[in-house]
């Protein structure tokens, strides 16, 4: 019971962190249709900026300024690069951000060096919020959770039935026409992209000290966030929220269970077979595989099943209309 509770708690807080990471991406992806490969890099940049500014003026300033700077950068990127690429369609934008990720990584290393940096949790947020049995739940995790929920709210404002939201949705398919109706589409796109990057930055400033702030951190976040947004369904916030929770919980519990296919099949298999006769073909490997070891692939398995069974994700709205 204790074990279960703590797992649940860990799972939830991890899920919120995941959501935080993927929130900005969802925003950009769903509204601008840009698969922003540089998202993780903005997240990293946020962490580094957060570190530097909290070094200068204290954590809270860092938390405030890092997102702002990343947001501005994002706007610049949109304004001077992506805007021109938009006509060439998704692939072009995607590749651009891919390149951008490389460049940002190098720049970060130029500024902050190639080693991990000591980005620590502020004393104000040190300590435990409450303890479940013997294991503490730190204040900071609570803080992260609150922020993540705040993000969710904020994005509902944007994505939700606001007029701006409408304009963007329409502009996804027929930007020309939306402009012809007198809406300044480009500017709105710029804002959205900025906002997305800002969120990434915020996630970095918050997650950077919970995890490790190092040049590798962007690659580390890697494709999991893409899994999240696709699983959630393109354009669906609640979807990506649920997806991150699902993945987090799933992994957390998988990690902590030592079940293996062998255990499952033992009753049916004759002892010797089960042992090692099948060893030569990785079959035994498959059988002895523990759920805890499968944890990393689980998200992708789910992703595949989802895409095949329900291609528009958990909450995604089907947009093909004849």
């Amino acid at each position: 019971m204790e074990f279960f509770l703590i797992n649940l708690l860990n799972g939830l807080s991890y899920g919120l962190l995941l959501f935080m990471l993927s929130a900005g991406l969802t925003l950009i992806f769903s509204m601008l249709g840009v698969l922003n490969f540089a998202h993780a890099s903005f997240y990293m940049l946020g962490a580094y900026l957060g570190y530097s500014f909290s070094g200068l003026w204290g954590y809270w300033y860092g938390l405030l300024i890092a997102p702002i700077i990343t947001a501005c950068l994002g706007m610049l990127v949109e304004r001077f690069a992506l805007r021109r690429l938009h006509v060439q369609g998704q692939l072009a934008e995607l590749l651009f951000t891919f390149g951008l990720a490389y460049v940002m990584l190098e720049i970060v290393q130029l500024i902050w060096g190639k080693l991990a940096i000591p980005y620590r949790i502020p004393d104000a947020l040190q300590g435990t919020l409450f303890t479940v049995y013997s294991s503490p739940f730190t204040i900071y995790r609570g803080f992260v959770a609150v922020l993540a929920l705040a993000m969710l709210g904020l994005m509902y404002l944007v994505l939700g039935r606001t007029r701006i939201g409408l304009v963007i949705q329409a502009a996804l398919t027929q930007p020309r026409m939306v402009e012809a109706l007198g809406h300044n589409v480009p500017r709105i796109f710029m804002w959205i992209f900025g906002l997305g990057c800002g969120l990434a930055g915020l996630a970095g400033a918050v997650g950077g000290n919970l995890l490790v702030t190092e040049p590798g951190m962007a690659a580390n976040v890697g494709s999991i966030i893409f899994v999240v947004i696709v699983l959630g369904g393109i354009g669906s916030l609640s979807g990506s929220f649920l997806a991150s929770m699902l993945i987090a919980l799933l992994q957390t519990f998988a990690v902590t269970s030592d079940l293996s296919l062998l255990d499952v099949f033992k009753p049916f298999l004759s002892a010797p077979l089960a042992a090692d006769n099948v060893g030569t073909f990785g079959l035994s490997g498959l059988l002895n595989l523990r759920l805890s070891q499968m944890a990393p692939v689980l998200p992708f398995i789910i992703l595949l099943l989802m895409l095949i069974w329900r291609p528009h994700g958990l909450f995604g709205t089907k947009s093909e209309v004849n």
């Binding site: 590749l95 899994v227 990785g282 490997g285 692939v297 095949i308």
Partner: protein, 409 residues
């Protein structure tokens, strides 16, 4: 828009290219050169196979390395069987085995992914890619853990004195395979299937209303592409005599995508250009500069923004321009202009590069670098004059470009 050679031109270029390829190893016979040529061939095959999906069928795959990787593993296992003597198969046919493996897995996974097109397809391919990559780590008996599986291509009796031990022999084997594959793929684009593939790229629904099953179309093209990808994997296995899980990695998939795009799909050989670039980058660039990743990223960004059709696109447009100029006998003007642009670009680039290099040397003094020499002038991060001159070069380049563009309007 696609640019088709008239057939005769195709034949000519085909012959010249093959001739060049076949002569190259004789011209440059140092191991490094051979290694270089071989890698270019391998990557070219991979890129062409990828373009069969991207350019021809309009399917953007994020997990194409899966098939080349699995092909490579099939190849090394085959090679081991051969050297054990359990299989009797000439080494030169190993790539075929790899190709079949690629085909098999292509068919297997393709059955899932070909259901969908567009972004969904891409995402499925991403999922499969990650899955296979992560999964490979779980079966060390097959994939040899992170150490990979190595094999020995020199086995059995040498046939006509060809043991494939020396690099040159392997290089030739690989070149021949490359030419074969390239030819086949080009032929494929001329067949009804190829035409239908581009039709399904354009408008799958309409194709369905012409009596074709779009899914089946995608599936077929996937199979072909995966077969050739597998061959590429087999070739790499022959060359490196090892297959590791990073043959399957997302990094591979990503880079082949990028370089195919950079090469451009406007010409059939566009992807090959991309492949050449890729190898040059990974072999030379990382050796001469620590900033190679910065350059790589910048290259992508610039290409996408200024040459959306990739290098080959540039070539095509430029050649068209020349044709037009000749037509209106304004060739001299065009040449003058392009030279001016080239000069400006050269200035700008050299300036930028030197600045970047200086920056790196200044930032990471402890790392070991070659010193920068341009036209006999030495630059160092310590003395300001080099910084200044670099800036001047850079500024000059920009100024020239701007003034040129003004004069254009």
């Amino acid at each position: 828009m696609r640019y088709q050679f008239p057939i005769s031109a195709t034949v000519i270029s085909a012959i010249t290219i093959s001739a060049l390829l076949l002569l190259a190893p004789l011209a440059f016979s140092s191991n490094a050169a051979l290694n270089f040529i071989t890698q270019i061939c391998i990557t070219s095959v991979f890129a062409l196979s990828f373009n069969l999906l991207l350019g021809q069928t309009g399917l953007l795959s994020f997990g194409h390395a899966v098939y080349s990787g699995l092909g490579a593993f099939a190849a090394v296992h085959a090679m081991n069987r051969i050297s054990e003597g359990t299989w009797s198969l000439p080494i030169s046919l190993v790539p075929l085995v790899a190709g079949l493996a690629g085909l098999f897995f292509g068919a297997l996974f393709g059955w899932l992914s070909s259901k969908k097109s567009g972004l969904t397809f891409s995402m499925i391919s991403l999922g499969i890619g990650e899955l296979v990559f992560a999964g490979a780590a779980m079966f060390p008996t097959i994939f040899g853990g992170e150490g990979g599986v190595s094999a020995n291509r020199v086995s059995g009796t040498a046939w006509l004195g060809i043991s494939f031990g020396p690099q040159i022999e392997v290089t030739y084997l690989i070149i021949i395979w490359t030419l074969l594959v390239a030819g086949t793929i080009y032929f494929l684009t001329l067949t009804p299937l190829g035409k239908l593939a581009s039709a399904v790229r354009e408008n799958a629904e309409r194709l369905a209303f012409l009596g074709f099953d779009p899914r089946w179309m995608r599936f077929l093209m996937l199979c072909f592409s995966c077969f050739f990808a597998g061959v590429a994997g087999g070739l790499s296995a022959l060359h490196f005599e090892i297959a590791t899980t990073d043959n399957l990695s997302m990094l591979r998939s990503g880079s082949i995508l990028l370089f195919t795009y950079i090469g451009g799909t406007a010409l059939f050989l566009g992807p090959v250009l991309g492949a050449v670039l890729a190898i040059v980058m990974s072999v030379f660039l990382s050796e001469i500069t620590p900033a190679w990743q910065l350059y790589l990223g910048t290259l992508f960004m610039l290409t996408v923004s200024f040459a959306p059709q990739g290098i080959s696109g540039l070539l095509v447009t430029y050649s068209n321009a020349i044709r037009l100029a000749i037509h209106q006998n304004r060739l001299r003007i065009l040449m003058g202009l392009s030279f001016a642009y080239f000069a400006a670009a050269a200035l700008l680039c050299s300036g930028a590069v030197i600045l970047i290099e200086l920056l790196y040397r200044w930032r990471f003094p402890i790392e070991s670098f070659r010193e920068i020499v341009l036209l006999g002038a030495h630059f160092s991060a310590q003395n300001n004059s080099s910084w200044a001159s670099a800036f001047i070069l850079f500024g000059l380049g920009i100024f020239l470009l701007c003034s040129l563009r003004k004069s254009q309007r």
